[in-house]
Symmetry: C2
Subunit: 321 residues, 2 copies
């Protein structure tokens, strides 16, 4: 009987899941909007129903559930300590809740970690022993793979790279700090960059895009850049420079040469990647700079699902050794 | 016959060495000023002579040499790529040169890495599986220990934390970047902080200390702080805040809870440590912040020597397994 794992990727606005076989084949991909209530219990119930549906659809044996969530996860305990998108989740043991709801042995991890595992299994990081995965969404996610294993830190708290400082006296961040990386190189950051950009073409750009800087979306900015708007191109370039500065810090600290960039904003890759690479090379020694490979993620929506499933299969293999 | 390793710590202005036994006992400690020529060959010759002297003084068998140098070291190849203090050293295979000069099997590593190993063996990091070692000297050195092993990165380039960005548009750094951490939290950084500090007591402080801001040493600043100079205290506090911001970034990235601070400037610990800890806690999530332990190094001058010797003994043990 064929074995499957179920991978689930819980995002800020929707969750995605699928059956995954041991070779990385993906079946019955589903995407649902997260409805109310957005409490831990509420979300586990919504995901749980979708998992039941997959169980019924499956013709094989389901050996476990791998769930990625945004936020700080205590991996050993299976506990979400905080999530930027789910303020109700404070020290919630989602792993136990998922196990109780679905009857499936569950792995719970930070979403960026599972995306890193997914890209390592089937995407842009295949064959890499060491790499840094950056996901550009509402904030910045980061998964660090050292010697082919996720480095989670002492309690799963590693990879909070979005909160490394990029400007000592920069804008306040909900984390308590100031000038954190994700105040610049994320969707939130993009808003800030639009705000601070003073460019002759700004007025024209705003006029063409509804007039309110607060309501500019990354898509609007990409579309405008595609049409050659000097303002939009300048904002993406600045975005790339800030992204690159942070990546340079990570490379200088970790001595890792491969960096994969994914997440929703990576769709604008063509508008920011060159600026990012220039900044990375400027801020690293020549010996390091010449070896750095900056690459775009390949799996988009399915990376986290594959990573979650991979966790399940790997853990099974470890236990059977 | 008793076995010894020789540990050598090459600094910017002098080098120190000693015989070390397998239990960490330190004998015949010597300190010499580095004379001309400061080329790779010149320094190897000077260290080589001192090693010869130790060999003669030793009553046991010397099994190897462990040498720490400032700069970027390609650990696998035993090669110094660059050193901030020895501009002549460009891609010099010091390991081979030491071996040829002394006949001793040689380990060559970055100085901060060996200081981390020394503190782990006999100092402030005893018993820690994971920690970050920061050395505050002319620049910032950094050794990262994960799961009881040095993390050197793919080619020994990890730990260039002094060049992580702390201010995106900050002052230029010889590395090519701008606003690097060591432009603030090092001896070079202290000069910069004195320069930018605008404090009512600055004029008085300068008057009492020779009048020239360029010539203020860390010792002068510590002495003044000890006498209660508001200017000196404010500069050390700012130094601590910048130090703490960078450490917070490292903690956010690596998820490591123990940080050891050594190097010459750590003598001023009492004047900057509180400010550093406040800044670290401000810039990390509560769950992380409450676990962070910031500690002062214990071994000062002998840490690098012990670390170099430890490398020799550990490698011997690995080979005999």
């Amino acid at each position: 009987m064929k074995r499957y794992a179920i991978g689930v990727d819980v995002g800020a606005t929707n969750f995605r899941l699928a059956l995954v076989d041991s070779r990385g084949g993906l079946f019955h991909f589903r995407k649902f909007e997260v409805g109310a209530p957005r409490t831990a219990k509420g979300v586990v119930e919504q995901v749980g129903r979708a998992v039941e549906e997959l169980k019924r659809a499956s013709k094989g044996r389901i050996i476990g559930l791998g769930v990625g969530v945004p936020g700080i996860v205590d991996y050993e305990r299976g506990c979400v300590l905080r999530s930027p998108h789910y303020p109700d989740w404070v020290h919630e043991n989602l792993r136990d809740m998922f196990f109780k709801r679905t009857g499936l042995s569950t792995h719970l991890d930070n979403d960026a970690n599972l995306i890193a595992l997914g890209e390592m299994w089937k995407g842009a990081a295949r064959g890499l022993r060491n790499f840094i995965m950056i996901t550009l969404g509402t904030g910045i996610g980061c998964g660090i793979v050292l010697e082919s294993r996720l480095w989670r830190g002492e309690r799963g708290f590693a990879g909070e790279a979005g909160h490394m400082v990029i400007n000592f006296d920069g804008p306040f961040c909900p984390c308590g700090g100031k000038g954190c990386w994700e105040r610049y190189a994320s969707q939130k950051g993009l808003k800030h960059l639009i705000e601070i950009s003073q460019n002759d073409a700004k007025a024209e750009f705003l006029r063409e895009n509804g007039g309110d800087a607060e309501l500019i979306t990354p898509e609007m900015l990409s579309n405008a850049a595609g049409r050659g708007s000097p303002f939009a191109l300048a904002v993406w370039k600045m975005f790339g420079a800030y992204l690159g500065a942070g990546i340079a810090s990570l490379v200088n600290i970790l001595g890792v040469e491969n960096v994969i960039v994914g997440g929703g904003l990576s769709k604008a890759w063509e508008f920011f990647a060159d600026a990012a690479l220039i900044e990375i090379k400027r801020r690293t020694y020549a010996e390091t700079a010449e070896r750095i490979i900056l690459r775009r993620a390949e799996l988009s929506d399915s990376a986290g699902i594959l990573g979650g499933a991979k966790e399940v299969f790997s853990s099974r293999d470890r236990h059977q050794e």
